[in-house]
Symmetry: C2
Subunit: 182 residues, 2 copies
């Protein structure tokens, strides 16, 4: 149930409409907690029912501006300090495929790992670009967002290095210990 806390977190910086929040999700939280329009409006309704947010203004086109309440702030704080984060990579179909590499031809397995390294490297480059773009901005979200971005950079680098190592490892597996050529 993190979407609700993502919303509370964003509203803790100031009031916003569902539409505003959606934009913020797209530009700044997209890489850590993507949310769809559908989900967002639903959650805002539930948050209002629970008393964690209230409608503070109504604008044109039925626009509703929400603000966080004291109860909402308390809930956000509780989530931040008391709730243990869920393990990051609990499910990975990328690693699941690794378990079954044995059913592939050696060449196919190699290609798979090679592609993992390339994909990781591409992600890494994209994040590097993103860092340049967001390097200004002294608001809280930007400052801590860069901290999260650093995680992404390190993570993708690790992923790339592992995939390259694993590709090497394939040879070791097929040509075991004592094997000498010729």
């Amino acid at each position: 149930m993190s979407l609700r806390h993502a919303v509370l977190g964003l509203l803790s910086e100031g009031p916003a409409s569902g539409y505003d929040l959606l934009k913020i999700f797209e530009i700044s939280l997209a890489n850590v907690w993507p949310a769809t329009q559908s989900q967002l409006y639903g959650e805002l309704g539930r948050l209002a029912d629970a008393g964690f947010v209230t409608v503070v203004a109504e604008g044109p086109r039925g626009r509703k501006e929400y603000a966080i309440t004291d109860a909402g702030r308390a809930e956000l704080h509780r989530w931040l300090v008391e709730v243990e984060p869920t393990p990051v990579a609990r499910r990975s179909d990328m690693l699941l495929r690794v378990f079954f590499l044995g059913v592939l031809e050696p060449e196919e397995a190699r290609t798979y790992l090679r592609r993992r390294a390339e994909a990781a490297d591409e992600n890494h480059r994209n994040l590097s670009e993103l860092r340049k773009v967001v390097s200004e901005g002294e608001d809280s979200l930007s400052v801590y967002g860069r901290m999260a971005l650093e995680w992404g950079l390190r993570f993708t680098a690790t992923q790339r290095d592992w995939a390259e190592w694993a590709e090497q490892e394939l040879d070791r597996i097929r040509k075991p210990q004592g094997a000498s050529e010729s």
Copy 2:
């Protein structure tokens, strides 16, 4: 829809019952693709309907032994070589919290990051232990399982290092560039 391919992958090593598969999930795939009993039996039924597996034997207590079919093997192969793996860490409530570290007292934020480092280190130690346990075993699942385990080791180490870096970074954020003490 990776559960079905996890099942196909396991059955590609030989026939097994739902119960057998459940045990294998618990001991070897638990860290990459956990599955519950409930899910597993449902999926086996659907796989049979789709013609990817068949019941090859019935044992005591209603036990049904499933084997993969040629169509199942083809589907497994297709999934392995053609389907792009989904990005590993698409959602992270651990990183989501990082975005909102600004709402906490400096001391609380520091505690949060410290705990991340500790948790990562603990995971790292657990995986190191696991590696000792599974270091034998020359079957395909063990060999490639160790490759996946190496990913876990590198990943948890990166996570720990990042959290330690981020904790340092907190100071830099609160005491900006030109600030001198006294």
